[in-house]
């Protein structure tokens, strides 16, 4: 494979080379890459801003994450935060720190993934830069989105008796990660070993090429549902429920047998002797949407595709509990990934 040194382009040349294939599509994007700042026009819409810093060795492992997938995922993670506000992502900026280990072709792969994500979700790349790093790869993405005033959904609006809803299924991305970690160990012991990925494509995809739930935000709008609170599930259901309940000053009951789980994830968990419920509660990186909605919207929610009701909001004094299959109540605790500990 061809290897072009980054120094061939220089800083301004490189960012131009990497971004020139991107085409702006949004009306709100007046000026993208190439000035001191991007210029955007949201008229009477509210502006949403979220940012994410990804560091090699901490947030991703290039041993098993292809750069194209990494670029896609780095973008998706930010889009997901905007959908979690019931908004639409519109622009991103991408800043990279890259060591000499990386070639121009490597960065083209990374940007190809970012570009695919942008195209799929209708987002414009409007800025950023590329600079040298002494060690590894650093990716910083900021996403700007818009939302109608009457649709923005915060974390603090959940009310007692609201329904707790979850899109898709939980724990699959975590089980995909466990599979990759296992195969990495096998491979490091025997470099001729072929990874055993048969029948596990779904959990791998959930880990390596997750999607943000644009479709759910669209469905909510079509059905006329405005959630009372919403978050994306990036650190596990427990952690996110604690955020919503704390900020809304409410309690919750979530039912173990209602938590949506995928079959491949169950099989993987059994094989690794892990609890799939623990993975769903604390695993992270699902990028599904967790939202609460008024009981008045119950009938409408039943018509939402790929959304399940997992519990309900209570008064704060009732606390935060998972109700097990035998009816036992277990207090929810945040065990989401905490890379600083």
């Amino acid at each position: 494979m061809q290897r072009t040194e980054i120094s061939k382009y220089g800083e301004f040349g490189l960012i131009k080379h990497l971004t020139e294939k991107f085409k702006n599509e949004n009306e709100s994007t007046l000026k993208g890459v190439g000035d001191d700042a991007a210029v955007l026009d949201f008229k009477d819409k509210k502006v949403l801003v979220t940012t994410d810093l990804l560091l090699e060795g901490v947030h991703f492992d290039l041993v098993y994450v292809p750069l194209r997938h990494l670029g896609y995922k780095a973008a998706i993670v930010n889009f997901s935060d905007i959908y979690a506000m019931n908004g639409q992502p519109k622009q991103i900026t991408v800043s990279l720190g890259v060591s000499k280990r990386f070639s121009v072709e490597d960065l083209e792969e990374l940007y190809a993934g970012i570009q695919l994500a942008c195209k799929t979700y209708g987002v414009d790349l409007v800025g950023g830069d590329t600079s040298a790093s002494l060690t590894g790869l650093t990716i910083s993405i900021t996403c700007i989105g818009e939302a109608d005033n009457e649709k923005i959904t915060y974390r603090n609006g959940a009310k007692p008796n609201d329904l707790i809803c979850v899109s898709g299924n939980l724990g699959s991305a975590y089980m995909g990660l466990q599979l990759l970690e296992r195969e990495k160990i096998v491979f490091s012991a025997n470099s001729e070993a072929q990874p055993d990925f048969e029948g596990r494509d779904y959990i791998l995809q959930r880990q390596l090429k997750p999607e943000a739930r644009k479709d759910i935000v669209k469905s909510l709008a079509e059905k006329g549902i405005v959630p009372t609170a919403m978050m994306d599930i990036s650190d596990g259901l427990s952690s996110e429920l604690i955020h919503i309940c704390t900020q809304s000053n409410v309690g919750c009951r979530v039912y173990e047998d209602k938590i949506p789980i995928n079959y491949q994830a169950v099989v993987m968990a059994e094989e690794l002797n892990m609890s799939i419920v623990t993975a769903a509660l604390n695993g992270g990186e699902d990028y599904e949407l967790l939202f609460t909605a008024s009981m008045e919207d119950y009938e409408k929610i039943l018509t939402l595709e790929d959304v399940g009701i997992v519990g309900h909001i209570t008064k704060p004094e009732l606390g935060l509990h998972l109700v097990g299959r035998e009816g036992e109540e277990i207090e929810l605790r945040a065990q989401g990934w905490n890379s600083l500990e």
Copy 2:
């Protein structure tokens, strides 16, 4: 000095601890830290977005940069990009990657600098996160600003016969850096040596605690001047003139004896046997404003404080030249800092 390990707080606790002293002041800041995204309302103004990634060992050296100064400068650099669009910075997000080498007190220092910059320039901190890093310190800042439709100034509007103007003076930050680098070498040879900084406070401040030219943007508005093109000078006058001339499809003549230089910078350059003009043209990190304005605004420009006219824009076929003290013409070349080479 007290040392509190970062792990004491955990990820969410740490960002809350570091940001809780920040108070939002801008009407456009509807919701800051603490949800999936910040929520902003710019009504009929245009939205400006700029982002900057700073990596330890590449963009800063903690041997001689105090963390408080680093925080201040990291914020200022972004504000400067917004002023360069003739806009006003309003919000920032700050993401940090920190290794275990850093304590909570270290990060408090860094945030104290960011907070001082925010307060001085009227900017709100609205988001970001803190995560572990395997190596050193990574700072990613995104700044959001606003501008009136009729005032936004791009790089591509310079016209033949326009005046070329520069605020403040150039090359001082670079000479401050040279001084710090020299004292670092002296110190590494003899750790009891005291740095020799007497009478050099100005160039040190320009390097360690630069300011963004909010005052110039204010003066332009007061005098009713809308520049035809503007940039901030972060990579040296040559590099920025080339950007403006290329994007505007024009040429330029800049006069060596018109380039504003500070006395301390001249003395330092002589001592180090360097050319102060080269430092002004290629040194970088001045964060002064370079702008072009119509000849019709000539009288008004003369009334601007701390702004000098350094040359004029020409037709593109006349090229980009520096006119030396003897009248000789030297082609301008970009030799700005290029950390990727």
